[in-house]
């Protein structure tokens, strides 16, 4: 929120008299304005000499604030939006699609949690290859685990045998829709998401092939270098914790905003850490727990090729349901 001094160029009514009055009450920016008691402020303004100007100034700031919130929507408009824009993308893996009732939903954040080597990256690659047939996909990779051979393999399995040249053309067309970007720290990820936002704003106007899937593999390795644990004491550590948690929730909200406003399905990968009694629980703690819309827990049967998936949290399916799948 801007400082009042900076707003003067746009709104000349916020001149020095208004600002000095506000400063005398400890208000330097629009944010301070919001937390102050406005009735008290108006009462003080009344008692002041130049009360008209002050009231104009206060009204101006209030109108600036009004412009900042998202538009109101009623239930019918939300339903229209959901029917028109918020499609469901099948992942291409039968077990998961049956479990989720057709697949992952646009406009929602789906999290895949699981111990190491439980198939999370494979599920993402499979989903990417499925969605890339008709839409664009962005894959943010933190562990150099994006494997174009896997994508080519999955695509090769799904098309009927035809000439090598036709197959090549098909692979080229679909794989050019997948963009892979390596990010190695959380600020780089914010940069990329910000650029993506500008790109999506341009894209929404025109038709053609649009981006519909964003995959972050994995968000936990970006946040772990900054996230501490609450058991450590000390002022420095608690400040670090606050910054880290703020970055984490900020990332979560940005992803949700991108998903809803620009009709993306977002798939993120999280890993597990040891919990009590030797069981594993998802990393990133309780603050992250409520951020994704749906959470799926994956695990692998050692020795066989089958994987287990169970729902930890989903907006429309019962949690605790499980299924098995093969890749």
């Amino acid at each position: 929120m801007a400082r009042l001094a900076n707003l003067e160029t746009e709104y000349p009514v916020l001149d020095s008299t208004v600002r000095n009055f506000c400063a005398s009450h400890g208000i330097f920016s629009v944010e301070d304005f919001l937390i102050h008691d406005l009735y008290m402020l108006a009462a003080f303004a009344e008692q002041n000499d130049s009360s008209e100007r002050l009231k104009e100034g206060i009204a101006q700031v209030l109108s600036v604030i009004d412009d900042m919130h998202q538009p109101w929507l009623n239930g019918m408009e939300l339903l229209e939006d959901a029917k028109r824009n918020k499609h469901v993308f099948p992942t291409g893996i039968q077990g998961i699609d049956l479990l989720l009732g057709d697949g992952i939903r646009v406009g929602q954040l789906t999290e895949l949690v699981g111990p190491s080597s439980s198939g999370k990256t494979q599920v993402c690659l499979r989903t990417a290859s499925n969605v890339a047939r008709n839409h664009m996909v962005l894959y943010l990779d933190t562990g150099n685990s994006f494997s174009p051979q896997c994508i080519a393999y999955f695509l090769g399995k799904t098309i009927s045998p035809s000439s090598a040249q036709a197959k090549n053309q098909f692979l080229q067309k679909v794989m050019s829709n997948i963009s892979c970007h390596s990010v190695f720290d959380i600020f780089a990820m914010f940069d990329v998401l910000h650029q993506l936002e500008s790109y999506l704003r341009c894209q929404d106007g025109r038709g053609g092939c649009q981006m519909r899937l964003l995959i972050v593999d994995s968000i936990s390795s970006l946040i772990s270098p900054v996230l501490g644990s609450s058991s450590t004491l000390g002022v420095i550590n608690s400040k670090l914790m606050d910054t880290a948690r703020a970055l984490m929730t900020s990332a979560g909200y940005l992803l949700k905003k991108l998903a809803h406003q620009h009709n993306l399905a977002v798939l993120i990968i999280n890993h597990t850490v040891g919990g009590e009694g030797g069981s594993s629980k998802p990393a990133l703690g309780d603050s992250w727990k409520c951020i994704p819309h749906s959470r799926l827990f994956l695990s692998c049967d050692r020795g066989s090729n089958t994987y287990n998936v169970s729902i930890l949290r989903h907006p429309s399916m019962a949690s605790g349901k499980a299924a098995r799948f093969v890749i």
Partner: protein, 355 residues
Amino acid sequence: MEIWRLPISASQRGKLISAGYTSLSSLSSISSSDLARELKVSESEAMNILKVASHSRGSETSNASCSIVEVLDTFQWWAGAQSAWDMLHDEESLMHITTSSADLDNILGGGIHCKEVTEIGGVPGIGKTQLGIQVAVNVQIPNDFGGLGGKAIYIDTEGSFMVERAFQIAEACIEDMSEYNRFLRKDFQECKIKMLPQDILENIFYFRICSYTEQIALINYLDKFLSEHKDVKVIVVDSVTFHFRQDFDDMALRTRVLSGMALKLMNLAKRFSLAVVLLNQVTTKHTEASFQLALALGDSWSHTCTNRIVLYWNGNERYAYIDKSPSLRSASAAYSVTARGIRNSSSSCKRIKMM
């Protein structure tokens, strides 16, 4: 865009927010001297903050007005994004570092991959250091013989690097190359191998690390080192665990440090197209009712590497098992450690029998 997302120090961020600057637009019209006065910092610090803010803002405004063609171009080509199709072709041209054991190379899909971080762990005595030295030697095999012709960085934390052994392995490697030369290239002009074991040893950059701070400092320094020595193609860290197992009371700090280190190594692997091999030790994990051997450094570390190979004993044979890989199937292969280095296993028993 919010101040949160700027890569500035936490104290600077705190000062900006308490002075009322919570978004980038509020920083757009202020001069550095005013900012320095408001935040009570030095003018150079204020200039730094404004530079970072305008850099982030610059990337935003450049995309503000865009035509369709421009949009497509800016999307595909900003800062390193590549389409999967291009990556597929790049990968086909990437070489692998052979381990000198054909079985092991087979399950690895040709050898140790470049641009990826491979973690190799096993019980003491299984041959991790031997494998590390073999990889450091094999990366120097010239292009004509199917190798990378690059140099190696060997980061030794335990002191287990034996120069005499490396010399032995280098000699054996050169002998193998001349054998290959004789048998398979006899229709070409037989070019004598001009490499000597001394040359191979000269191309291994050796760093000895004595504490975890030195380890982190070295990984940070490698960025500059690799920009000067662009022909380094493999970094071997033997072992990455040693300094993190003792003296660490604060487990949260350990997790943070390790994840940060892993990300930096990933970054190096990707930027300089080299392979990173991390050797790890084992620990016992108590799951349900049994004790199991698992790789050290915990669950969070196990997620940070691209590939993981576990070395174990099966009877009297040494085996390698691919535990985690994005593109390879889980498989095991036997190998052996001989006087000439890592080779395919033969059926005779190599393990010392206890009397």
